[in-house]
């Protein structure tokens, strides 16, 4: 608790035209921990993540990385800080193999020729570091991989670059039970390797299985960010659906304000959230 969070967002506001999607949101992620980001559809999860990733500029608020204020205007800025996002649709090239996908856009070259041995070595080391045992050949085409293996490749691609913060958008949404377990194990492994992992999920089982902290958004406000061991399943569900649970969460007045403030735009907010998710 004494350590500086690697990523800290303070008082973030973000509007799309008349619709305010994020209001005074505070969010932190610590190295070596999994921070779950939960919330209902349209609560602002995707927007917050896209602000962190540099896809959307923030209207106001502070973006602190490793305790120092930084400005992030583009995905490249975020990458250079060491922030990587693994999107829900993964965006892998099916016709390329695992190594090619992991190095896509950042290929190693010797002169003008691709340095295949070095790339193979780095890819293999990264997979070993993550204790990935499910991939037979790193020269397998992604088209021949299962959903869980693809998720693994996408995550490995994100951590290949000495990233410090990895954000996973619903990594288990499309997976079966066994593959979900594998991916969660990998998520835990990332944190144990010292990365700050942000996990967006709708699945409470997943959240309680791996998360150290749970941050809950409610209608564009951060209802609470708490240690996973301090809350119960039903408390988190209450936070998601009502914005408060007992002493936790937004105060009654704030909940009402959030409700009223966004009430007339509810449909709009939800639509935006869905659109963001689809992008």
């Amino acid at each position: 608790m004494t350590a500086t969070p690697i990523l800290e967002m303070r008082g973030i506001d973000k509007s799309f035209g008349p619709v305010q999607v994020l209001r005074q949101v505070d969010f932190t992620a610590n190295a070596g921990e999994v921070t779950a980001l939960v919330g209902d559809n349209g609560a602002g999860k995707s927007t917050l993540v896209k602000c962190v990733g540099g896809i959307y500029p923030i209207d106001s608020g502070d973006y602190l990385f490793d305790g120092k204020p930084v400005t992030v205007h583009s995905p490249r800025d975020a990458s250079s800080l060491g922030v990587e996002i693994v999107y829900q649709d993964l965006a892998l090239c099916e016709n390329l193999d695992i190594v090619q996908n992991m190095f896509l856009g950042r290929e190693r070259t010797r002169g003008i020729v691709l340095d295949e041995p070095t790339m193979e070595k780095m890819a293999s080391e990264t997979l070993d570091r993550l204790s990935v045992r499910t991939v037979k050949s790193i020269r397998q085409l992604v088209a021949s991989l299962s959903g869980g293996q693809r998720q693994t490749v996408a995550i490995a691609k994100a951590v290949l670059w000495n990233s410090k913060v990895v954000i996973l958008d619903e990594p288990t949404a499309a997976l079966g039970v066994a593959q979900t377990a594998q991916v969660l194990e990998l998520v835990r492994q990332l944190a144990d390797n010292g990365l700050a992992v942000v996990l967006i999920s709708h699945n409470m089982n997943d959240v309680f299985a791996v998360a150290d902290q749970i941050a809950c958004l409610y209608l564009g406000r951060m209802a609470a960010q708490v240690k996973a061991t301090d809350v119960t399943y039903s408390q988190v569900v209450e936070l998601i659906t009502a914005g408060r649970s007992g002493d936790l969460g937004l105060q009654a007045a704030a909940v009402a304000a959030a409700g009223n403030g966004n009430g007339s735009h509810d449909a709009g907010v939800t639509d935006l959230g869905d659109m963001n998710g689809a992008q």
Binding site: E94, N95, E107, V113, L127, I138, Q149
Partner: protein, 369 residues
């Protein structure tokens, strides 16, 4: 990263049961198999099979008529195929990027005409206008070729701009330039072929040999090898595959997709331009009425060579082999005195079959996830 002997070099054949599922444990990380990319790619494409077909054809025609495998026969086969080889290489890039270029034949003709006109303009002999530029030197020849190649490049870049920036489907954009390049050619020439190119050019590049190999073939093969290496082993090539496979993924990792596509179409146009110059030297005249089916021959070669029209796969080697199959069929039918028109029928059937196999493989792949 250990190679585990012969088994490692044999990837599972398409459609075979999937490799062991993750929940069965798999093998430890150190046992992860690494295939040389070339081997892996080869086995996943039709290239290998079409190569076997080519060998079988050569052996068959050779057995039927030993003259078939003679230096003269092979030399003329290779020289006739050289310009089309360049077109097919350009088409390979375009098809891998999930596009198509129908304009190549017209661009070839256009470039030939521009090259010839430039040569006549610079090297024409005022005293003997009928002689054209036959006695002109190499400077004139080079200037002409350069002009022709630039003409080809310009059409290619226009194609790329229309596809990448104006978002016009490649089929339509290049159909448009097919018409425009042909129309421009007719306007420039008035419909008659341009004659009287420098004799130097025709004698060396057109029919000249180096150690028994035609210059045409040497030039075409050098360019092909160069672009084959660029495609297989450089960042540019890798990005071409990525864009054809998933343009959105390429964009997200920071590849400038639009700019890359313009370059790809530019390469196709430039190669058509070079092919136009080679063809000009070979026939000593522009061939305005020929080449209308070059685009389809090139597409057929690329697809036979294992590329997918959906983009993301294909190799220059494959396309070269795919190009030789119809050429060998044609000259083989002539040698064994079968009506060579059978060639069109045979190639058409093989082409449809090749695409059908590609479809089956895709289906097996997505079903076996």
């Amino acid at each position: 990263m250990t190679e585990t002997g012969t088994e490692a070099a044999t990837p599972p054949p398409a459609g075979a049961p999937q490799p062991s599922r993750p929940d069965t444990g798999g093998e430890p990380g150190r046992g992860r198999r690494v295939l040389p990319p070339a081997v892996a790619r080869l086995a996943y494409t039709n290239t290998f099979w079409i190569f076997l077909v080519l060998v079988a054809l050569v052996v068959f025609f050779g057995a039927m008529q030993p003259n078939f495998i003679s230096a003269v026969s092979l030399r003329s086969l290779a020289a006739d195929t050289a310009p089309l080889l360049l077109i097919a290489v350009g088409m390979t890039y375009v098809i891998i990027s999930a596009g198509i270029d129908l304009s190549v034949g017209s661009v070839l003709i256009f470039s030939g005409v521009i090259a010839a006109k430039t040569m006549l303009w610079l090297g024409g002999d005022g005293a003997h206008p009928d002689a054209g530029a036959t006695s002109a030197g190499w400077t004139v020849t080079l200037a002409g070729c350069l002009a022709g190649m630039l003409g080809g490049l310009a059409w290619g870049l226009l194609n790329g701009f229309m596809v990448a920036r104006m978002k016009i489907p490649a089929l339509i954009a290049t159909l448009g330039t097919l018409g425009m390049a042909l129309g421009a050619t007719y306007l420039i020439t008035g419909g008659t072929d341009v004659r009287g190119i420098p004799l130097n050019f025709a004698r060396t590049v057109g029919f000249g040999l180096v150690a028994g190999v035609p210059w045409l073939v040497i030039i075409a093969v050098l360019v092909t090898v160069l672009l084959g290496v660029v495609l297989a082993a450089t960042r540019f090539g890798s990005h071409t595959y990525a864009i054809g496979s998933n343009a959105e993924a390429a964009r997200r990792v920071g590849i400038r997709v639009d700019r890359h596509l313009i370059k790809v179409y530019g390469i196709s146009g430039l190669l058509a331009g070079i092919a136009g110059c080679l063809s000009l030297a070979h026939f000593t005249t522009t061939t305005i009425s020929g080449h209308t089916a070059d685009n389809l021959s090139a597409i057929a070669a690329v697809v036979l060579g294992g590329a997918s029209l959906f983009g993301g796969s294909g190799t220059v080697t494959g396309s070269a082999v795919g190009l030789l199959v119809p050429a060998v069929l044609q000259s083989g039918f002539v040698t064994i005195q079968v009506n060579p028109y059978w060639q069109y029928l045979a190639v058409g059937a093989v082409l449809v079959l090749a695409v059908y196999v590609d479809q089956l493989r895709r289906k097996a792949r997505s079903a076996g996830r």
